[in-house]
Amino acid sequence: MKKRILFVDDEVNVLQGLRRMLNPMRHEWDMVFVESGQEALALLAQAPCDVIVSDMRMPGMDGTQLLTQVMERFPLTIRIILSGYADSNMILKAVGPVHQYLAKPCDAATLQLTVARACALRSLLADPTLQGLVAGMQTLPSLPTLYLEVLDAIRDPHGSLERVGDIMSRDISMTAKMLQLVNSAFFGLRRHVSNPGEAVKLLGLDTMKALLLSMQIFSHFDQKQGGAFALDVLWQHSLATSTCAKRIAQEQQSDRHVVDHAFMAGLLHDVGKLVLAANLPDLYSATLVQAQAQGTTVWEAERALLGTTHAEVGAYLLGLWGLPDPIVEALAFHHCPSACPDQRFSPLTAVHIANALVHTEDSTEAGGTPAALDSAYVAQLGLSERLPTWRPQPGRAA
């Protein structure tokens, strides 16, 4: 089935240029071009779209206003901004409702790839309800202690970017959000960053203040709602996995990008659990209880009860947020690496092994049997002998 893409720009010439440039995609995409937010909403009301690509500054309703309405009324639609405007106040307001941000002039390849990736994500998560839930997430809940600590650090008149970055690097949700901001062209950065600390330094203290205090891009997790889901346990597991994944990638002499991606994917690999626990607390708690009772892995119980897994949910969210492909891939396949089309050593390999090794070390995580190691996959990559050396030392979680 053709994907339906909606383009919104107040400049007719831009729309016509896009239409001509994307003409080769006409067999895969059904493209619609409108000149205002009102027209776009009217059109969406008639027929849903998979992706909407909107200009930012338009008379009447601007891009943020339009995409906020789209988020509320048509949550399944993936929301992308394509703008040549550089006013940071306007961009800050877009951080919540916008999945990805492209800067004009945007070359054809980037635009095509971004839209195509967004379309491809659809196949990751079949259930439209979950798709809507994930696409509607503007913030992910953080560990309350880290959340308070980061607010404290940002309000401290003598606060330093290092401290703010350091705290964020330790939190799953903050890391994910910061990576969204720097991987998209929100602030015109769009470059590889090795950790959220670097992202913070690129954005600067003022922007960070605006993001945290005015835009409230972070929130904190309410453990009372969590039931069987314990964020602090997940957090410890994720930190340990990221450290271990980084070490594996380093020892495999990977290049810097692979090491960085392995580290970040390690921290984020279970972000789907957080999404599920925050959005469907009762259902997810029940899922964990069932996994425990039936002695299955968590993801098997998820599959049975929710029709999906936290791996897919997490990958879908980070894909929407435009995080680099190797990270999204590592998340999506971290339980079943053999299913990944790319069978070379990758951040996925590091995260899969690290996850399994950390799980065997501590099995305190709520629910079910720990994720198993895919021995065939490891053997095929010739890494079986190395496994014992990668076991995390006890008590060296972070």
Binding site: V14, G17, L18, M21, G60, C106, A108
Partner: protein, 567 residues
Amino acid sequence: MTSAVSPAVPDTGGGRQQSSASACQDPNQRVPGHSADDALGHNHQEATLPLVEYVNDAIAIVQDGKTIYRNPAYLRLLGQSAEDSIPRDFLDAVMLADRARVQEYVQKCQRREAVPEQCKMGLCTDDGRPVTVEMKPRVITYQGQPATLIVMRDITAHSQAKEALREAHQGMEQVLAAIPSILIGIDMATKITWWNTTAEQTFGLASSQVVGRPLRECGIPWDAQAILNALATCRTTRARVRVDDVRFHPPGRKEGFLGLSLTLMQSAFGEDVGILLLGANITERKLMQSQLAQAQKLESIGLLAAGIAHEINTPIQYVGDNMLFLQESFHDLSTLLEHYAALYQMCTEGTPTASVLSQIETTAAAIDVDYLTAEIPTAIQQSLEGVERVATIVRAMKEFSHPGTKEKVSVDLNKAIESTITVARNEWKYVAQMVTDLAPDLPLVPCVPGELNQVVLNILINAAHALGEGGGDGAPEKGTITVSTRQVGDGVEIRITDTGPGIPEAIRDKIFDPFFTTKEVGKGTGQGLAIAHTVVVEQHGGQLTFETAEGEGTTFIIRLPLTLSGS
């Protein structure tokens, strides 16, 4: 006073010795009595005027340290009464601290040694009041015995006044020293009479190095010619002269600027006594002013830069897209052309085969020739439009910024205004229709183009913001900004009208104030209109006014003279 008394006072020396001697021969009958004229008046025989009794100076006769005669003024001075028993010790009335000195002084007088003409001393009255007097002793013969005539004048009030004056003077000195302004006094011979602490600090010259010396010889590290000119002007016009931007360069420090005012000083009798230079080092202030103006400029440039980036990025986006389309279209068409070339070849050589014809048909269908032939001309047309748009913006930016021109030159205001409207397009296009009504016969206007463009820009941006305020979220009606130019008399008028909400009554008299802003904190330096006012009024000798009606809109009116005036 002394001269009025002295004829009645016996004198041991000088021309009146004769009569004094006779007067002193027999004064005792009435001393101590209520009248001393017989004792002391040289003419007590002929006149009964008891001079000694009536003078205001206190007079006493002392013999062997005892006061044996006191005139009424003495009694009044010391709060004694005639009935008090005498003789008393003269020194009893003298303040303890002064006694030794007074005694010595009197003794010296008696020995006819050289002494100061007068002796100042403190007395204590019988009722305990301190009194300061000047005392003049004279050695006389009284009742055949040597005695001392003591004449005393009460100078308490005088010395209090003097003390007060001294204190006031000292206070004034302190005030002057504390003034953080440069204070230099110059007499009519251009010698320095005053040089305060700030002057010392500013120029690195101590007061002792310059006071009393002619101004031009002091080596003051300033623009001496400018000062001398100002002094000359001050003298001839007899009015206060203000000189700004006097360069000075103190040793070991950075060059700076002084702002001085020169005032002619006159004595109580109206004669010129000198010139007072009062002023300050205005380097910091000038720096701040220029930084503030710069900050405002940067602010609007920053705003513009974001807008201009958008204005340029938009055409670049579609020009790029169209070029990519044209590239691919050409590639497709050249494939088709190849088939046509093959067909042509076959036609010239013999009969074309059916396969070539079908190839042409399939290719034409695959590449959608109809679509291409319809789209390509439009794509080229729109790309050219885009390139022209970028070129227009770049030209306007160049026009607008006028790098380097700081002088007044003849400017085509219409063109300048059009450029400014173009560079600011992104600021107004979302909220307003722009209407220009520019007089085609407008004469060239002498002005500093960069500065004037800034003024028009600031007013345009304010107009756009005024229109932007009205709209809520939905789709607010666009307002209108009208810019017109006209020649009016010997000047030109630029009117910039918006259909916004108007300026509220309460802030109308504040809008040209520096730092006044209606925008939220952190947005806008509040300098836009203040600087516009300075540029129009001070730099160009023009006027900047506005007309406004709440709910209807605002018109800013810039009037510029066509003739260059000195400024």
